[in-house]
Symmetry: C2
Subunit: 394 residues, 2 copies
DNA sequence: GTGGATTTGACGGAACGGGCAACAAATGAC
DNA sequence: GTCATTTGTTGCCCGTTCCGTCAAATCCAC
């Protein structure tokens, strides 16, 4: 039970809470007028003025120009996060590694991505590769830019306590510590490691196609299938931080054998391999095979279109249980599931709605807006949450 | 996005927050020494003393006697919720109606339950029936007892905004307002209506077999199957307040036709009717049929035992997806699923663990400790949360 | 253009609540 | 019985927000 949550040891911590509320609002919504801040926080003009002054003194925000054209009255000055504060985000995917510098407020300042061999590789090689990418990114940043933290997205199970990678089957990793090696090379910056499904959900709900929704299910598939859950506006990571591991849920007793040993897991029905096999192709083609397949679908290849149709039946089948359990506003599909959406959206919406209870038929299904960048952006959001809390305390 | 959450307009609202923290701790953990409150809240002795004084002046708590026998030092006085503050909780089940008076701190002061015909009945008849029960309960309360609110549990979909019963298939109700009629007869008390699965989960996590756990899945079945979710210590009710409606999730394409029109819903595999049919009995026997069946199982009836075995396979199958998605500490089974646990616990734990990912194999499965009282106790918890917030504000 | 209405920002005083330190009270250990 | 230890109480201090007032900046009507 969340019990020892110390209440606001007012007044000092009340000010922290209020500073946090303002900085968080600026991070999430971008430039905001001071009068809007007064309304959204419920604080008085004097309090907001004082708090914004604090944040400006810390170099986190700046006030610039007036903003308002509706009605009389003195225009309110705009407060916006300064672009000189960034975090670095790293996304270790199966096929590629992405690195980005993301400013307070969510702007992606720099972003690079390069391919990776889809084979098991020892962690230290991957870490070195990522560090070279980080250096390429930081080298191009302006001199006055400060790096405040590092966020990492990994397709695996992450310990919520010490952020070790407990298991990443698709990378071939078992119990890998990423925090120490990264921190050793980057100074004592705060480092956060998150599951790609979890941070992907966070990215889509803050910067992507589910903005403004409090109840969101994000499902993504490459080789594996993962999900991220937002309930009541908060990320649900589960008891051991491994919520959303839906890939090995049994769905088809008449299905193929899964890498986990069971028969007919969701992953064996809606993962990349499943789609390639349904279309009569081999699973060795990887991302390129999927790209080829989608090009053929666009060209009208009936075999591929039929494979997509079958695939979509199983996607709807798998989503039904999750939506019934969670009652979300919107289901966001990333990875392969997002890529095929242009071809299957109508069929998927129809099949899903047919299976859902009448009360849930309004549930929207959309493709991820951020595509393959979702995890890296989500990793940035995760670390920004931590950094904001730390900066405020100082 | 939960955005307009006004931060602590300190200092006044900080005091509310602190009062709330203390009263909530007393409600959840019962009598607590003042020094324990100092530790758990992080406040100073003076602040706790002042806050407890407030609560005592409001008639909500009392200080009585000393408590401490470990080591030297002045013993700390115990603070405990006063039993003169109660809420009324009502549970409208398919087979029965329960009414209880529950004190601050969770003690059940009075509790009655009487059977109901398992047929559709117009709402006003049920409400009148419940009101008579409420009067029977309140009539026996001491004169100095104050009733502060009413909580209702209903097996149906409840609007989170106005607490209307949008749909209760097993009661035969569509869009029923319970709040107005109850409030009309009980004065302007706060009234809260909740789904039986949701409040059942709350009851088990606060007063039952999942105390202390932050991530809990509660699954219950009578005729229908419902679930309640606790994630991060908070009840997850979903976008429209109808999370946990897992009964009509498709699980068995080769199954029977469900009342909802689909084939092989979870409800048609693990509901009461499913078990009765598997054992070769008719579905008209209702609760009595289940009681007979369990008696026969205890007596060693092999047909029934085989039916329970099959039933359990499907329970494990259904739970697998939910546990993979939510990664809970513990799964609590109520209703029929709890009643059969003595016969199937080992098989269920084994089958579930065999299907779960290795990282989740520690997930515990237990029978609900509160049995059929879970919804009524949970309804009391829901309304107490509201009442506590109101009392604190005053 | 000019003056009034309106909204916002800044400043000073007031109230409120928790932290802190000193002291009194209640117990166990010797 | 004395001392160490822990707890409750009291008075004072300090930080934070709130409130009222005034100046500044804009829109609008004339």
């Amino acid at each position: 039970m969340s019990d020892s949550v110390a209440p606001g040891r007012a007044p000092r911590s009340a000010r922290q809470t209020n500073r946090h509320a303002i900085l968080r609002a600026l991070h999430l919504h971008g430039a905001t007028s001071r009068s809007e801040l007064v309304q959204s926080t419920g604080l008085t003009r004097s309090a907001v003025g004082s708090l914004v002054g604090d944040l400006a003194a810390l170099g986190l925000v700046e006030e610039a120009g007036s903003t308002r054209r509706d009605g009389p009255g003195r225009p309110s000055s705009a407060v916006r996060p300064r672009g000189t504060q960034v975090v670095i985000a790293v996304d270790l995917m199966v096929d590629s590694i992405g690195v980005a510098a993301v400013a307070l407020g969510g702007a992606v300042v720099r972003s690079i991505r390069w391919p990776r061999r889809r084979t098991a590789q020892p962690p230290h090689e991957v870490i070195d590769d990522a560090l070279r990418g980080i250096e390429r990114v930081t080298a191009t940043l302006d001199d006055d830019v400060e790096v405040r933290g590092l966020g990492v997205a990994v397709p695996g199970l992450i310990s919520p306590d010490d952020h070790r990678v407990l298991l990443a089957p698709n990378l071939g990793w078992v119990d890998v510590d990423l925090v120490a090696p990264f921190r050793a090379r980057l100074g004592d910056l705060p480092v956060v490691v998150g599951n790609d499904g979890d941070v992907g959900a966070l990215a889509e709900v803050r910067r992507g196609s589910a903005i403004g929704h409090d109840h969101v299910l994000y499902v993504t598939s490459e080789v594996g299938v993962g999900a991220g859950i937002i309930a009541g506006g908060e990320l649900v990571t589960g008891s051991a931080g491994i919520a959303g591991e839906v890939g090995h849920t049994p769905v088809n007793p008449a299905g193929r054998r899964c890498s986990c040993g069971a028969i007919g897991c969701l992953e064996t029905e809606i993962g990349e391999h499943a789609l390639l096999l349904r279309a009569g192709r081999t699973i060795d083609e990887g991302r390129q095979g999927i790209a080829d397949l989608l090009r053929d679908a666009a060209a009208g290849d009936t075999t591929v279109i039929e494979a997509l149709r079958e695939h979509t039946v199983w996607v709807a089948f798998g989503l039904t249980g999750m939506v019934h359990l969670l009652n979300v506003d919107v289901v966001v599909l990333g990875g392969l599931l997002g890529e095929v959406m242009p071809f299957v959206h109508d069929q998927l919406a129809e099949e899903l709605n047919a299976r859902l209870l009448p009360s849930m038929r309004g549930t929207a299904v959309v493709a991820a807006a951020l595509g393959e960048d979702a995890p890296v952006i989500g990793a940035a959001e995760r670390i920004w949450d931590v950094v904001i809390a730390e900066l405020i305390a100082g």
